[in-house]
Amino acid sequence: MIFPFNKNLARQWCRIGPRGIYGQSLLNLAEDFPDIFAVSADLGNSSGLDRFKGKYLDRFINIGIAEQNMIGFSSGLSTLGFNVFVSSFAPFITMRAGEQVRMNLSYMQSNVKIVAIGSGISMGFLGNSHFGLEDISIIRSLPNIPIISPSDCFEVYKSVEALAKYEGPAFLRLTGAAPSPIIHTEDYEFKIGKSIELLKGGDILILSHGTMVSNSLKAAQLLKEKHSINASVVNVHTLRPIDSELKDLIMKYPLIATVEEHFVSGGLGTIISELITSNFIQGAKLIKLGLPNNFLKSGTYEQLIKRYNLNPEGIANNIYENFVQI
């Protein structure tokens, strides 16, 4: 890292949002990592890559509106030693190009990093065609692809930095819009597969990723203020490989909640329920908060978050109702 990260920068970055910061991160890292190459299916500017492609003309390609070709091309490109970052909207890059991802990244282990921009429901009025509701679920069904979902803009940078050093395929999921939440105001240790406990409390355990980490922290605050319930909040920024230490943590709590901007099935909620059943964790009680498994209504990002009870109040109420019943 060639800059000191601090509160001021955190505020600036939050105004730029995760997509812009993705592009800036790549720009920032390109000098130290000469193998970095960026490809986009006509969403270079939407991926914040304007300055990157301006500075590194020979390390960027807009392959055209052709996601399947983008994945195959990038995979071939990577065989000569390039670490290829490809970006497009979550559904296009996971579904339109799904089989290319399966053959090239999962099967052949190409050194290609998929960056799903605008995942979750931040696309608001652009609607279901553009929402990332099942991207984790899809990528998780394909072997050998780590999945990272950063909680704020600084973690976007930390993720890109980690992936610049990582050899092999990976999936980076960007949720939220600008301004985006701030979780980190100073540098910290980011390790793929190692969750971060952001808040310690003894009553319930909240596991979250992406933008929902911020709302989970706010929900924890509400639970404490209104009901004197102390929640732990853990940022599970890596969904695969899942942090093996979560198993021990889960055993300590009477109630666990997963909170995510994804369909309730197939994402972190499913991952944790699988962790519980496959480890025979008896008596574990899990509530899965996320988006209902159906196409969603229209609205702004904020309206949708509220409608589907993923705002701090919605999360806190949901957890409280379940907590009083156990």
């Binding site: 390609i61 070709n69 195959g72 995979s75 065989t79 052949m108």
Partner: protein
Amino acid sequence: MNKIRSSSYEELISDALKVRLKILELAHSSGGGQHLGGGLSMVEIMCYIYSKVIDIESVKSKLKERNRFILSKGHGVLGFYPVLHHYGLISKENLLTYKKELSELISHPIRNLDNGIESSNGSLGHGLSYGSGIAYALKLKKFNSKVYVLIGDGECNEGSIWEAAMSSSSLKLDNLTCIIDCNLFQSDGKTSSIINQENLAQRWESFGWHVIEIDGHSFSDIDNAFSLFQPTNKPKLILAKTVKGKGVDFMENDNSWHHGRLTESLYQEAIQKLSS
């Protein structure tokens, strides 16, 4: 690339015969259904590529600056593994593991540079994108190496082929050659009866490719097409007209041999026809 001496054609014809015999032997010993038709139609093209275009030693040593071949029509392995064996990239012992438990030589290619296989295929329409990415990377590295991708005419039904066709010409990949094994059949029947692909050469031309139409069983034609001066800035498309099941008369143009079973008596008949 220079044109080869015509005396070499005799040698290539002999290679092709040996490869076809090996194809039949392998299909027979392995048993069960085999993609014979499309394996037999590509033999001359493959013999030429592995004898004149690909430097075997550079593949063995995994030299970065090497010419590469991608079998996009992945079901064509019967026209691939025996060729790799014939030109010394896979051993006899390895070849005999074909379709045996745990083998890497199965009905579709698995990327394994130790076997000289550059990419995993099987699902159609993937190889040209992959090959074009390699071709672009070779240019970035300022290597003079070239990439050759073999696709089927049926495979041209896939939209991803045309995505790659568009981007390859836009990127001016004159180090990329795509060869169509145009045997006029696909799984369910004649390509013409399924999807209209009339004027296929012109279609590729209109996508910005330098197109050469040849008889895909004539070494003289193949040699001309590969050694022809390549206009700069354009990828090359060799439309090779071939016969599905080529070399075994009862298989030729009979699409039941797209995926057929070679019984003992048919095998004997086939090798007899081939040798005569």
